[in-house]
């Protein structure tokens, strides 16, 4: 009986359509054609949105350059500019040839992608996706570059940069973002996910991008050692950067870039939750900046510019994982905690670990990245609940503070562990090898002379008379 009705329906429709089609060309649009057009526009909107978001993230490389240049001495400026510049262009080529395939190619054992190298067989949708992912890829290496600035061998850095974009970043990325059933940290078939019962969540990469960069930087800083003159009798000596205007311009460019970084990470120009994502992003960043400023004000009686700028970045890094899964107030709390982590982390690194990280990259990207992952386990509202009623891309279950129990927090902690073990461990090995083969550090003479002269035979500002030490 139903079948009959169906057939009659089909018949009726076909008749209708024939009649319509015949009757007048002006009226010849079917709902199905419209639906296809609508889908076309939706796709086009996603393309446009992601391309622009990619542009903003690409521009972040200018931001990183300026922050690093500003917070270091002018005798190493050309070298830092070149390192950051080559990082992007190497990133483009290597992520095209290898990185994307490793990250998003056909899954092998939940651990690594295995095809689509050189973007073989790409179409416009893939190019769009690649471009957005590519601009993220070089970021990890750039973070490392900042932390190791003013004493690292240029050639060794370039080789490291290739490996970062080809291997370190995309393999961890595969575990989280590949969408493979077995993807180590997020796939339904992954033993870890099965054991804990819930998938890990890292919206735009507090872990994938920032922690990976931050803990790789930790390995690098450890192995390359402190700059000459940084520690005297075990006490850290301030080495002021040469241009605060560049540092602040860079920071604001980075904040702008985060609009694309997080906003684009819904990967869908039609997902209204990009608004929640972006609002949370800026609330957390602002809270971080204010917090760090207040702490420095209390500690030394004067609000510190470069740490306040770090505070903004810390808040932004931290909220990058949870931004699509939490309320506004939680974003602010996350930002405040990030601001505290920035101050405490920078001091801890310098005073306790005796690490020399000129730009604070380890605290900003490493520690705040981990805090970001953890915060998902605390503040996640859960898809379908409250403001996330219609959300598509957020942490699925509620976190600890929203009655979701400990599971989400647990898997997030596992993710934190993975970033540390993977990024720190692998980078440590790579830097060790690079040190043996190429030499990780320039000579003391070259360092004192400045890497601009020793590595590039140039001065960044040849006309200004400036003190060498």
């Amino acid at each position: 009986m139903l079948k009959n009705v169906q057939q009659i329906g089909k018949l009726l429709i076909i008749i209708c359509m024939v009649l319509i089609a015949l009757s007048s060309p002006a009226l010849a649009v079917t709902p199905e054609e419209n639906a296809a057009s609508i889908e076309g526009v939706q796709t086009a909107l996603t393309f446009v949105w992601l391309l622009i978001a990619s542009g903003l993230v690409f521009f972040m490389h200018a931001g990183f350059s300026l922050v690093e240049v500003g917070l270091t001495r002018s005798k190493n400026t050309a070298n830092i500019l070149m390192k950051n510049f080559m990082t992007v262009v190497i990133g483009i080529l290597v992520y095209w040839a290898v990185g994307w395939g490793v990250m998003y190619g056909a899954d092998a054992a939940g651990l690594i992608g295995t095809n689509q190298f050189f973007l073989a067989g790409a179409d416009n949708a893939l190019w769009n996706g690649w471009f957005f992912q590519m601009v993220f890829a070089a970021t990890g290496a750039t973070i490392v570059s900042g932390a190791m600035a003013e004493r690292t061998n240029f050639k060794a850095y370039l080789v490291y940069c290739v490996l970062m974009v080809a291997v370190i970043y995309p393999i961890y990325g595969h575990w989280v973002w590949s969408g493979a059933d077995a993807a180590l940290l997020t796939g339904a078939e992954s033993p870890i996910v099965k054991a804990i019962g819930v998938a890990s969540h890292d919206f735009a990469g507090s872990g994938v991008v920032h922690s990976i960069g931050g803990y790789s930087a930790l390995a690098g800083v450890l192995l390359v050692g402190a700059r000459i003159g940084k520690f005297k009798d075990g006490k850290a000596i301030p080495i002021p950067g040469h241009n605060l205007t560049f540092a602040f311009l860079g920071t604001l460019i980075l904040a702008l870039g985060w609009l694309g970084f997080n906003g684009g990470s819904t990967l869908d120009g039609n997902d209204p939750y990009m608004n929640l994502v972006i609002v949370n992003t800026f609330l957390a960043g602002a809270a971080g900046a204010v917090t760090t400023m207040l702490i420095t004000w209390m500690k030394t009686g004067k609000p510190d510019p470069s740490l306040s700028a770090n505070g903004l970045l810390g808040g932004l890094v931290a909220v990058t994982a949870p931004c699509g899964s939490i309320s506004n107030w939680a974003a602010i709390v996350i930002g405040i905690v990030a601001g505290i982590i920035i101050y405490a982390g920078v001091m801890f690194n310098e005073n306790t670990l005796k690490l020399d990280d000129p730009v604070g990259a380890i605290a900003v990207h490493g520690y705040c990245g981990s805090w970001g992952l953890i915060s998902v386990g605390l503040f996640s509202i859960g898809i379908g609940n409250g403001i996330l009623a219609d959300a598509a891309y957020a942490a699925e279950v509620p976190g600890l503070f929203y009655g979701g129990g400990i599971s989400l927090l647990l898997i997030q902690l596992v993710a934190v562990l993975c970033t540390i073990v993977w990024a720190f461990g692998l980078s440590f090995v790579i830097f060790k090898i690079l040190d043996a083969v190429i030499g990780l550090r320039v000579s003391a003479e070259e360092e004192i002379m400045g890497l601009d002269i020793s590595e590039h035979g140039i001065r960044a500002y040849p006309e200004y008379l400036m003190r060498e030490d």
Binding site: A236, P238, I239, T300, S306, V346, E350
Partner: protein, 115 residues
């Protein structure tokens, strides 16, 4: 031939304007200025960087050099002293150095005529 001296004063940079104007009015327009850094009885100032304090003990100073004949030296010293004075530590010092010869490049004039 009158003896000649270079009066070299290390003063606070923000006093330069006054010293310069005073010298001009008193008929000594010619001078040379050098940016220097100095340390004297004045303690350095405490600066901070990324939450850590440190002391910068070399403070920016301005060196003013005026070459004159012996008879003008005392007048110049007085002028500089009165205009560069603030009474606070760091006001600076004046050194008087003998000059053997002076030549004006443009004309080749020497010594007294060259000043």
């Amino acid at each position: 031939m009158a003896k000649m001296f270079k009066v070299e004063a290390i003063i606070k940079p923000l006093k330069l304007h006054q010293v310069k104007d005073a010298l001009d009015e008193a008929g000594f327009p010619s001078l040379t200025i050098i940016d220097v850094k100095g340390r004297g009885l004045q303690k350095g100032i405490v600066q901070q960087w990324r939450g850590k304090e440190y002391c910068v003990d070399l403070l920016p100073k301005t060196k003013v050099e005026v070459v004159v004949t012996e008879d003008k030296v005392e007048e110049i010293i007085q002028l500089i002293q009165s205009t560069a004075y603030t009474g606070e530590i760091g006001d600076g010092k004046i050194f008087v150095i003998p000059i053997e010869t002076v030549v004006r490049i443009r004309t080749g004039e020497r010594n007294g005529e060259a000043l």
